[in-house]
C-alpha cells in the first residue's frame, strides 16, 4: 500500500517522532511505499535517522519567516502546538493534503488530524493517530475533535482506556483502535542490576512530576545514601528543579543530566527506572527502560503505566501523586537486590514480547485492510 504519514516536524526528538520513526520503518520493511510529510522543518537533520526507503517531504522551513505570523484561526486554541500552525504552515499542509495521491494518510497530532479531515481527498483512507490522551483535549479543541474526527476513517489511540474515551466522544460512526507504540530496537544494552542508580527521563515540565520524584528520593537517600537519581531531559522547569534539589540538600544525590543523544546507553548504567508523571499518553520511555531490564517504579497515572506494568510481576505501581508511596516502592526495590533483579528480568521479558519493533505491524495491516474493505463495500 502507499502510506503517507504526516508529522509536525520530522526532525524533532520527542516521543511522537520517535514512535513514528519506528512505525514507518516497520511499514517500509513490510514492503509498503511510505512517504513522510513534515509540516515544518525545525532542525536541519533528523534527530533519529529514518529508514532509507522512507521519502521525507518538508513543507515549510522554520527559519523562512513562516512562523512570524500568529497562529491560524483554523486551528483550535486548545492545540498545544498552535503557535507553530501559522497561516503559512496551515496553508502548506492543506495544499499538500488536498493533492495527495496515496492510499492511506496517517496524521499524528490534533491540528494535522483536523486538517486531514478537512482537506484530504475522499479516496484517501484517513487515520488520526492520537499521541496525547483524551483528557488533554482542552477548551475549544474537544468540540472541534468531536465534530470533525467523525470524518476520519479511524482514530487510533495508544491505550485501551483512551480508545474507550474517544469511542464515547465520537460515537459509533468512527472506527477506533488501540495500538500501543512499539520499541525502536531490541538490541539496546541490558542494564546492570547491581548499579546504584535510579534513572528517570522526560521533558522538565510540570506534567512529568519530577518535583514529586525528587521529594520521594530525599526519603530514599535517608535510608540508602549510596544511591543516586539521574534525571534525563531538558525543558523550562530545569531551574526550579535545581532549586528544589538545593533546598533539600540533594546536590550530591540527584543530578539533572540534560538531554542525552543515546538514552539507552545511559539507562544501561542504572538498575531502577522511576516514572513520576501526572499523566502519560502511553509512557514509551517506561517501556524502553523496562526492555533494557530496569526494574520500574511508577505512579499509576492515566493512562499508560498500568497497561505496561503488571504490579508486582514486572514492576511496581503506586497511587498517582503519592510521594510517600513512591519513596516506599523505590526503597523496596533498592533494599532488595534479588527482588530488583527479578522485576527487571521480567520487565525486559514482558516488554520485549509485547512491544517489539514489529509487534504492531500485523494489527496495523489488518486495520488498513479492514478500512479498505469498508470503503469498497460503501462504494
Amino acid at each position: 500500500m502507499r502510506i503517507t504519514y504526516a508529522l509536525m516536524n520530522a526532525n524533532g526528538m520527542g516521543g511522537t517522532v520517535r514512535t513514528i520513526n519506528t512505525q514507518v520503518a516497520a511499514m517500509a520493511d513490510a514492503g509498503h511505499e511510505v512517504e513522510l510529510i513534515s509540516a515544518l522543518r525545525w532542525r536541519r537533520n533528523p534527530g533519529f535517522p529514518y529508514h532509507p526507503a522512507v521519502r521525507i517531504r518538508h513543507l515549510t522551513e522554520a527559519g523562512s519567516g513562516v512562523l512570524d505570523d500568529g497562529p491560524s484561526p483554523e486551528i483550535p486554541e486548545g492545540e498545544p502546538f498552535r503557535h507553530r500552525f501559522t497561516p503559512g504552515v496551515v496553508d502548506a499542509v492543506a495544499d499538500a493534503f488536498s493533492r495527495l495521491d496515496t492510499d492511506v494518510l496517517i496524521t499524528t497530532r490534533p491540528a494535522l488530524n483536523l486538517l486531514a479531515a478537512r482537506h484530504a481527498p475522499e479516496p484517501v483512507i484517513r487515520i488520526g493517530q492520537v499521541h496525547n490522551s483524551i483528557v488533554q483535549l482542552c477548551g475549544d479543541l474537544r468540540p472541534a475533535v468531536a465534530a470533525e474526527y467523525r470524518r476520519l476513517d479511524a482514530v487510533v489511540t495508544l491505550t485501551e482506556t483512551d480508545r474507550l474515551g474517544y469511542a464515547g466522544l465520537l460515537g459509533p460512526g468512527v472506527r477506533t483502535a488501540a495500538l500501543p507504540n512499539a520499541l525502536h530496537s531490541l538490541d539496546e544494552p541490558r542494564c546492570d542490576p547491581a548499579s546504584k542508580v535510579v534513572a528517570a527521563a522526560g521533558t522538565l515540565a510540570r506534567r512529568k512530576g519530577f518535583p514529586m520524584l525528587i521529594k520521594a528520593f530525599a526519603q530514599v537517600v535517608a535510608r540508602h545514601p549510596d544511591w543516586k537519581l539521574r534525571i534525563y531531559g531538558h525543558g523550562p522547569g530545569r531551574e526550579r528543579l535545581q532549586e528544589l534539589i538545593f533546598r533539600l540538600h540533594l546536590y550530591n544525590h540527584v543530578h539533572l543530566m540534560g538531554q542525552s543523544e543515546r538514552l539507552s546507553a545511559e539507562f544501561a548504567k542504572a538498575s531502577v527506572f522511576a516514572l513520576s508523571s501526572r499523566r502519560e499518553a502511553f509512557g514509551m520511555v517506561l517501556a524502553e527502560a523496562m526492555s533494557q531490564g530496569l526494574a520500574p517504579v511508577s505512579f499509576d497515572c492515566p493512562f499508560g503505566p498500568r497497561e505496561i506494568i503488571t504490579h508486582g510481576r514486572d514492576g511496581l505501581l503506586v497511587p498517582p501523586e503519592d510521594t510517600d508511596a513512591l519513596a516506599e516502592a523505590l526503597c523496596r526495590v533498592i533494599g532488595d537486590g534479588a527482588e530488583r533483579a527479578r522485576l527487571g528480568a521480567e520487565a525486559a521479558r514482558s516488554t520485549r514480547a509485547r512491544f517489539g519493533p514489529r509487534s504492531q505491524l500485523e494489527a496495523w495491516e489488518s486495520l488498513l485492510a479492514d478500512l479498505r474493505a469498508a470503503r469498497l463495500t460503501t462504494a
Binding site: 538545593f246 550530591n252 539533572l256
Partner: protein
C-alpha cells in the same frame, strides 16, 4: 594522573565540606593541606591594585586523610574581601615531613558524566559580603567562584 577525586561537595551554613579520595598518590601522613590559589591578574597595574583590594592569592585549610579518603571543610568567609578574587583553583598538599610535595589538584575525572560543569552544580554560600560557589571547570577541576554578595 595523580589527583584528588571529588565525590561529594557539601555547601551548608556558610561552610563547604569536600569529601573524596586520593588517586595514584600515597598521602604519607594523616594530615594534608587544602590550598586554594587565585591565578594572578594579567597587567602589572592590576596586580598592584589587586593585592590591596583582593588580598593574598593563597588560602590554606587543614584536611584529613583516612586510608585514601580525604575530607576538608572551610568557611567561605575566608574569601571575603572588598573585591574577592573571582576564581580559585584547589589543591591538596601533603604536610608530613619527607613526603613529596606533589600537589594533588581537586577534580572529578573518574566517572562517566561528560559535562560535569552542567551536571554537578551546587548552591552558593554567602558570608561577610562574599558569595562563594563550588563549580567544575571545563577541564573537570573543582574551583571556587567568588563575587561580592548583595
Amino acid at each position: 594522573m595523580a589527583h584528588a577525586e571529588i565525590e561529594e561537595v557539601w555547601p551548608r551554613e556558610g561552610r563547604v565540606r569536600l569529601d573524596g579520595s586520593l588517586i595514584d598518590a600515597a598521602p604519607g601522613g594523616r594530615l594534608l593541606e587544602l590550598r586554594c590559589t587565585a591565578p594572578p591578574s594579567r597587567s602589572l597595574l592590576h596586580r598592584a591594585a589587586a593585592r590591596v583590594l583582593r588580598g593574598p592569592r593563597l588560602r590554606r585549610f587543614p584536611a584529613v586523610v583516612e586510608g585514601t579518603l580525604f575530607s576538608t571543610t572551610f568557611p567561605v568567609s575566608a574569601f571575603a574581601r572588598p573585591r574577592p578574587w573571582p576564581e580559585w583553583e584547589m589543591y591538596l598538599v601533603p604536610l608530613a615531613a619527607g613526603s613529596p610535595a606533589a600537589e594533588l589538584r581537586l577534580g572529578r575525572h573518574l566517572d562517566d558524566v561528560p559535562k560535569k560543569a552542567e551536571v554537578y552544580v551546587y548552591p552558593a554560600q554567602k558570608a561577610r559580603g562574599v558569595r562563594v560557589k563550588p563549580v567544575f571547570t571545563d577541564g573537570d577541576h573543582l574551583a571556587l567562584r567568588c563575587r561580592r554578595a548583595r
